[in-house]
């Protein structure tokens, strides 16, 4: 019964999302919203994918990885090579971006995911920098001057990718495999003792996260006409990390929401370049002081609609608990 109810809400939200996507498409092709807003919209979309993919690694599996821009870079360059050098269609570029980043995720994940906490953070940070420097020194992809890429990212591709990312990550999380990942986050020793192959699930989460970061990279590369290694420095990694932390570690809707909010904030602040970083940082400091658990905590947007129902058996209902 519960599962049926869940499925109904699930399909209606998909229908809603598709309707939204089609409406936006008309608004864009009809030039009802101007280029500036469309561009911001693309920015937001790419950041949503990045935030959601890192959410799976940090928020769900609890592996503190701060080299996400590395996967973005791998995806961007791999897809650019497919479309520009090999002159294959964009769809293949998208796929290649994701697959290349996922392979990079496996290569970096298998040795480093044995590390914990700070050590993993430093190892992934190192990975991000290594990727950047490799692209900086490969002449085939333009080295420091970068690589020119045709603008191929369109709203349908972007929207489809966002929808697919969110669906896959949501479905993965709400299954026994997702629970296994969460158990690793909650207590790795206990997860091990319960028969969970913790290394396997850490690597899987890492690879899925990297795949979607690569897809985001492909969309990113084909949106800005040029990609340069400097676009993928560790500051980019921190930007993505901030989406996830600010949204609430463990909340997918929180990550999406904060990706939207922060992208809008930083876009509007672009007109005040000298104040931009100050205000942006202030927002973060104030947020962490007054709401350290992030916008959503570990809750999802959908839990607000169920509020009336869960109120019955809620946390404060002590009367029903037997004396232990």
């Amino acid at each position: 019964m519960n599962i049926l109810k869940g499925a109904k809400g699930f399909w209606s939200s998909i229908v809603l999302a598709v309707v939204f996507g089609i409406v936006m498409q008309f608004l864009i092709t009809g030039e009802i919203i101007n280029f500036f807003y469309v561009n911001t919209l693309y920015f937001i979309g790419i950041n949503i994918i990045l935030a959601a993919s890192l959410h799976l690694i940090i928020g769900i599996t609890g592996q503190f990885s701060i080299g996400h821009a590395g996967f973005l870079a791998v995806g961007a360059y791999a897809s650019a090579i497919i479309t520009m050098k090999l002159e294959l269609p964009f769809s293949l570029g998208l796929l290649a971006g994701g697959v290349a980043a996922a392979i990079a995720g496996l290569i970096i994940g298998i040795p480093t995911l044995r590390l914990k906490g700070d050590y993993l953070a430093i190892a992934t940070l190192g990975f991000g920098e290594i990727v950047r420097i490799i692209f900086l020194n490969i002449e085939y992809v333009g080295g420091a001057s970068g690589m020119t890429v045709t603008q191929l990212t369109t709203w349908p591709w972007l929207f489809g990718s966002i929808l697919l990312t969110l669906l896959v990550i949501r479905n993965f999380t709400n299954s026994t495999h997702g629970r296994a990942c969460i158990s690793v986050r909650e207590n790795e020793i206990a997860a091990d003792a319960m028969g969970i192959n913790t290394t396997y699930y850490k690597v899987i989460a890492f690879a899925i996260g990297a795949f979607f970061a690569g897809v985001a990279g492909a969309l990113y590369a084909h949106n800005f006409f040029i990609i340069q290694p400097t676009n993928f420095g560790f500051l980019k990694s921190f930007d993505i990390l901030i989406f996830v932390v600010l949204g609430g570690l463990g909340s997918l809707s929180g990550a999406v929401l904060s990706a939207i909010l922060l992208t809008i904030v930083s876009t509007y602040l672009q007109s005040y370049p000298e104040l931009r970083m100050i205000i942006y940082s202030l927002v973060l400091i104030i947020m962490m002081l007054y709401r350290p658990q992030g916008i959503m905590g570990t809750r999802e947007l959908t839990s607000f609609f169920k509020f009336g129902k869960s109120g019955k058996g809620g946390v404060n209902d002590d009367s029903k608990q037997p004396v232990a």
Binding site: T176, G178, M194
Partner: protein
């Protein structure tokens, strides 16, 4: 398995951390269905010994066999699948998960649906998840936890957290259950409830139990045999009566008699 073969057989097992011998030369046998206690002063190496059995540490000497299968060097999750499950001295629940989900994690190895079938929501996903959910609810009824199914584990009172941890360990379907100080921090009434629970699950699940405990009332009350560990070595084993009168054990706990 024939009745005569021991379920768990530990031969001269030990572990060394650098120059420090934490546990050495432990010989121990558990028969199917036994309830055995492991006691010893603080720092005697009891929890370290549990960590050897469950694969958290790899023994540097000796061997450990479960049902004739050698366990040395297996990863902890593989040992769990072979049939050893445990609770922890300091409770290690999945705090942010609900009571129900805590148990479902233990059922993970039963699940037959792949990651792909979950991502694409194939029929197999729904049938398997439903099976796990129903099984977990049924299971939690035995432990009187079915009225807090959707509560987060961290919000439970202490006694219920202990009970949930035992429930979760049993859900992994072990042949041998290791309980690490299950009565720590409990009041006498809670301890008595725990003793009843242990007796109940033992009968119901046909279990062999090895238990570390400081509460002598509990150990002497429920255990059929007791092993005593001191400074990493077994100094005695026998029935509660024998242990109570063993001079070596008294010495370990109270110090040497002044003559």
């Amino acid at each position: 398995m024939t009745a005569n073969n021991p379920l768990l057989k530990v031969n001269n097992a030990g572990i060394r951390f650098g120059g420090l011998k934490a546990v050495s030369d432990v010989n121990l046998e558990l028969k199917q269905g036994e309830l055995v206690g492991l006691i010893g002063p603080n720092g005697a190496g009891k929890t370290t010994f549990f960590n050897l059995l469950t694969g958290v540490y790899v023994p540097t000497e000796g061997s450990i066999e479960l049902d004739g299968d050698k366990l040395n060097g297996l990863a902890p999750y593989k040992i769990t699948k072979k049939g050893i499950s445990r609770t922890f001295q300091n409770i290690r629940l999945f705090n942010e998960l609900s009571v129900l989900d805590n148990v479902k994690v233990a059922y993970h190895s039963l699940a037959k649906h792949s990651i792909m079938s979950s991502i694409f929501r194939l029929p197999k996903h729904f049938s398997e998840e439903k099976y796990m959910e129903e099984k977990a609810i049924e299971f939690l009824k035995i432990f009187n936890l079915d009225n807090v199914l959707h509560e987060k584990a961290k919000n439970l009172p202490y006694g219920q957290q202990r009970r949930l941890e035992i429930a979760r360990a049993l859900a992994a379907n072990p042949k041998l259950l290791l309980l690490d100080e299950p009565a720590a921090g409990m009041n006498p009434q809670e301890t008595e409830e725990l003793m009843n629970l242990i007796a109940l699950i033992r009968k119901k699940f046909d279990l062999t139990i090895l238990l570390i405990e400081h509460d002598m009332l509990l150990v002497m009350g429920v255990c059929e045999r007791i092993y005593v560990l001191d400074h990493g070595q077994l100094i005695a084993d026998g029935t509660p009566e024998q242990i109570r009168n063993n001079p070596k054990v008294i010495e370990a706990y109270l110090g040497e008699e002044v003559s």
